[in-house]
Each structure stands twice: as structure tokens, then as C-alpha cells.
Amino acid sequence: MSMTRRTFARLAAGAVAAAAPGLAPSRLRVEAQEKITLKYLSVARGEPRRQAILQVVDKFEKANPNVKVELSETPFDQYFQKVSVALAAGSGIDAFDVDSPLVAHYAHQDVLLALDEYVDKKDWEDFLEQDRQIATYGGKILTLPWSSSSQAVFYNLDMVKQAGITPPSTPDKRWTWAQLLEAAKKLTRKAPDGSTQVYGFVVEQVDRPYQILPLLQSNGAQAISPDGTKTSGFLNSPEAVEALQFYGDLYNKHAVAPKKPIPDAFGRGQAALFLANSPHVNQIRRLFPQTPWALTPHPFFKKPVTPTGAWHVGVFRKTRHPKEAAALALAYSNANQAKDNFKIMNYTPVRKSTFEAFPDEFKQPPNSLFYHEITHTAIRRPATPAWREYEDLLRTAIRNVIDGADAKKELDTAVARIDAVLARYRK
């Protein structure tokens, strides 16, 4: 019954599209004759970042009076699960935020609509080469990038001054992890009752491979074998174990970082050093204008490696309104909106035209540093269809090491489980 109805709706939408000869003057506009609703699943981004998607929805609805966009914002921790449930149910989702390493995963599940026919070839060239690569799978454009990311260490100017520490400001003089630890020890302040008042160091995404994998890679480890078939001997190499143990020691042996994350610790003056991505520039400016801060580059072990990755927008293959959903995806990622997205969120841009529109932004701090990292030291997460499981299993290992478990044991366990998953995907 529902199949018939869906098929009918799709046919109807097709008929409507065919009956509108001239089509939209602007790419934003699609001439839907009937009232339709598009469901957009987005990560809940908090202020000020969520203003970007709100603006997109608002503009899109004004340009397309027949289309209503129902925006559903889900906290990051539950987001991927929410998307997967909606995709499995086959309803309640037309377009959604796609974390770039998951493009391969969704492609393997065949849930993304190919967007080639909706994308202007010349406009596509405006995206940076690396982001186009991530968005393409099996020769088809599956997602449209709207942000990339890069990380640096925010430090509290007052606290650093008080402790007599001068963090380096340029990438060529960046701290090693050992140097950062020494600084964090000096910056950690205890109350008389033994509790910690100020933590020397906090991390934005404490247990996410996005953030922690680069530590292992900086120490010489690899995330996965070059052919993408196994992690054993790579993700649990001595270099990987050493780096992850160092990270765990920050929480246990040295106790310079809190085991359970404290919300907005840096902005509220409960942490002195904060390893985080570029949108925090806008967030701290907006929510904690009284906190004086500056940036020092991402620390390293043997060679500088920094996280990167992007948010894309994808369209569900089974949507009843492919044309409208694709138009919404374009509305979020087109060249004009990309500039607004950058102004609102301060994510690292994914379009050449955005970089060109703000020539000075990337020559001076803070964004010059993020720009340097993304062009020199950033390593993407591995493109494997098993990323969803890989992420979860490695995250569990990282979480356990933060809680005091042995890094070797945890990585050995994670590697065995990830390799079992990889073997399943090969079948």
C-alpha cells in the first residue's frame, strides 16, 4: 500500500517536473506545484553555528513558497544513530548532514542519491579537490561539502602569563606533546581540598577518533593498512600504543585533564589550554567575550599531524522529492551561502571562491593558523565503508584508556574487532 503511494508520489513529482518547461531561473528555486514538506536532519550545533542552517531554511522557503522544510536538530552523540534509524525506516528523512568519512559507508549501503544531474559542472570545480574526492563514490557525486575543519590549541592569555609560559604562535615552533604536558602541569590549579579548580588541558572531542587518531599518526602509526583491509599491525603498532598511552596519562598519571568533560570549561575559565576546531573562535567570542585567548599550533610527537574532515549534505535515495531535496542541498552548499556559512560558523571553507572572498582572513591569526594546518598537516580519516564501526570501536578504546585502562590491551581488542568488521564488509 505504502509502496504504491510512494511510487505514485514519485511519478507525480516527476510529472510536475516535466510539466515545468523553463524551470527555475535561480538554482535555489524548484517549481513544486503541490505543497510539500522536506525533512532535514541536522546535527544540533548550538549558537552561533545553528544560525547557518536556520538561514538556509529561511531563504529556501522564501524562494520556494510551496516547500516547507522541517528541520530536526539532534545532539552530536545521538546523531549518527538517528540518521541510521531514519534511513532504515525509509521515512522521515529527505536530506541530512553527512560526516565526510561516512560517505563511503552510506554509499556502500546505497542510501545516497547521486546528485550529478543537479550540480553545475563549473560550480563543482569551485570545491577544493580533496573535498570533491570525498564527496564522490563510484564516479558519482553523492554529497555536497559545506564545511571543513582544522584544529589548534586555544590558550587563556591571563593564565599563561601568570604561569610564565609563552606558547609558540607559529607552526615551525610548535610544541611537542611533552612540552604541552609540562605547560599543562604548571597551569593546573588545585583547591585546598584537593579538587581541581583549573585543568591545564582539555580536548574538544575527548574520545573521538577524529581528534585522537592524529596523535597516533603523529607518532608514526597508521590508521589502517594501505589496502584498507586490516588494522592489525597498524592501529595497534608500538607507535600507536605509545601515543595513546601518553594521551591516557594526561587524564590519569598527570591528571592535567578531566576524565568527564566539563561543558565550556575553557570559556568559563576552568581550563587553560583547549585543543579544538575553528568554530570555537566564533563560539568563544560570542558566548565568553570576557575570556582572553590566543592560539598555539596543534602539538606533535614525531611529525605534525592535525585532524580534518568536513560536513557534507546528502539526499536520501528514497526521498519522494529528489528534485526539491537536491535543491535544498545546493542551497546549503552553494557559493553564496558558503560565504555566509564561513562568517557564521568559522569552519574552514571548502570552496575556492570562499577563500578568495576573504583574502585577509587567512593571512592573519586566528584563521591563518587553521589555514596552514589544513594545507600542510591535516590527515583525513580513512575512507572505509566500515568507518561507522571503526569509529565506535576505536572510540571505546580511547574512552577506556582515558578511564585508566592499558593502551596496548585496548588497542589490541579494538583492532581485533575492527578487523572482523572489515572482513565482513569484504564478503
Binding site: Q81, A88, Q109, S195, P258, R388, T396, D403
Partner: protein, 294 residues
Amino acid sequence: MAVIGKGAARVAAPYLFIGPALLGLALFKLYPIGVGLTASFFDYEAISGRKSWIGLANYRELFADPLFWRACWNTFLFNAVVTPLQVALALALAVLVNRRLPGIAVFRSIFFVPAVISLVVASIVWDLMYNPDSGLVNAVLAAMGLPPQPFLTSARQAMGAVIAMVTWKGVGYWMVIFLAGLQAIPAVYREAAVIDGAPAWSYFWRVTLPLLMRTIVFVVVADTAINFLLFAPIYIMTQGGPSDATTVLMFEVYRNAFVYFRLGYASAVSTILLVVMLVVVFVQFRLLRARFEY
């Protein structure tokens, strides 16, 4: 009272009464169990909808997976502690608040309060209380001059911490059931025991407990079922960690179904869980059979 019908109508009447309940049971319990059992023989990717018959492969994989055995052990450990603890405490509290003392209703209400709090809310609040840095529990320990504890962040303490929370949450509810059971015991037995000069302890063991057996069976079986299927506190407080210390079978079902979207494998785990529960409940029914009627 009027006689209800004759012949066929008389035979059909009871079935008509239990019919709706049976229908609901079949639709919402038996049918899903059947679907789950069938799914466990498939390699079933939920998102793409791809489905292929693989026979017992899910079960073979399951039995070869150390994490599955770890989850079995954790489930056993959790239930072996929580259920007896809850039942014993609930019974003790019920006996305590069964006395006619001034203000006893206030105590009954206080003990019952945890039962009316949402399990999710309780889990979040206890998670905050267990925070090793800024949690209430460590603050209390510090005030008593005791060293702070890692609680949920320690593989050794996490299970104990979850057990404590779950026990606190459940006791009040079972207390009320026991209280109802206690109050249903006719007062004549008590009077007879007093006249015979039976000491209170002896009265409890020889009269109250045997007469309370039906209530005990209900509480034990229902509590066992609830605890076997407990999921929210684990999901919210520990996510099965640290180092799998609190990974119970139910959490394995969830993780495989809704994180990895392997519905076939998850169904196999839940089928095993169901079988284990059936065996345990069967044994409980056999051991706790009521021998006295009143």
C-alpha cells in the same frame, strides 16, 4: 447473580474475556519474538535492506566472540546481585513500613519516590552524582574523610555503581507489592501466633514467608525479567564500559542493532537472552512454588 448463558455460550464466555488480552499478547509479544527468531538466521543489513539466509552463522559467530561471553557473564553477575538484593531489601522495607506507627505513610512515600522517577532521569542524575571530579558521592566521601572513588570510570567499580543505582531505583516499587501481600495475610494468624507465644522472628519465618510465597514468586519473576532487559542505565551511564565491564546482553543487542545495524546478529543475541530468561524463570517457578493457601 444471574446465570451466564448456557451450552456453547457458557464455554465461549471465558475465551471471550481473555481474547483481547491474548490477541494483544500474540500481536505485540509472540509475533515480534517470531520475527526476531527468523531474523537471527539472516544476514540482515537494516539500512540497505539487504537480507540473505545464513542459517546458524550468526550463532556460530556469537559463540566464538569473547565479547558475547563477557556480556553473558556480566548479565549473570548483574542479575545474581541485583534481583536478590532488591527482593530482600524490598521485603525488609515492607515489613518495616507495615507497622502501624505514627507518620508511617510518610516513610512509605519516601521509599516509593525513586519508583516514580523516570529511569532515564535517574540515570542522568546518578551519572552526575558519580562524577569523580565534581560528583555528590565523592563530596560526601570527602566530608567523611574518605578518599575519592572513580566509580563509573573504573572497570572494577562501574558494575557495582550501576547495581547500587538500579537497586535504589527498584526497591520502592517492589516494597509496595510486598506491602500489599503482607496486608492480605489475615490477622488471625498473627493473633494465633501471639497467643501461642511465638517469637516475632519465628513468626516471620514460619508464618509470614510461607503465606507470602505467591507475592514473592511474582516479585522475583517480574524483577528478574525487568533486570535482564535493563538497558537505559547502562546506555546513559557507561555505554557498556569501561573495558566492557558493564556490557550486558541487552546492551549487545542494542549495539549490534542500532550502532552497527546488524539486525540478524542482534536478533541472535536477543534470542539467546530470551532462552536464558525462560530457563531462569522456569527454575524460579519450580523452586518458589507456594505450598500454603489462605
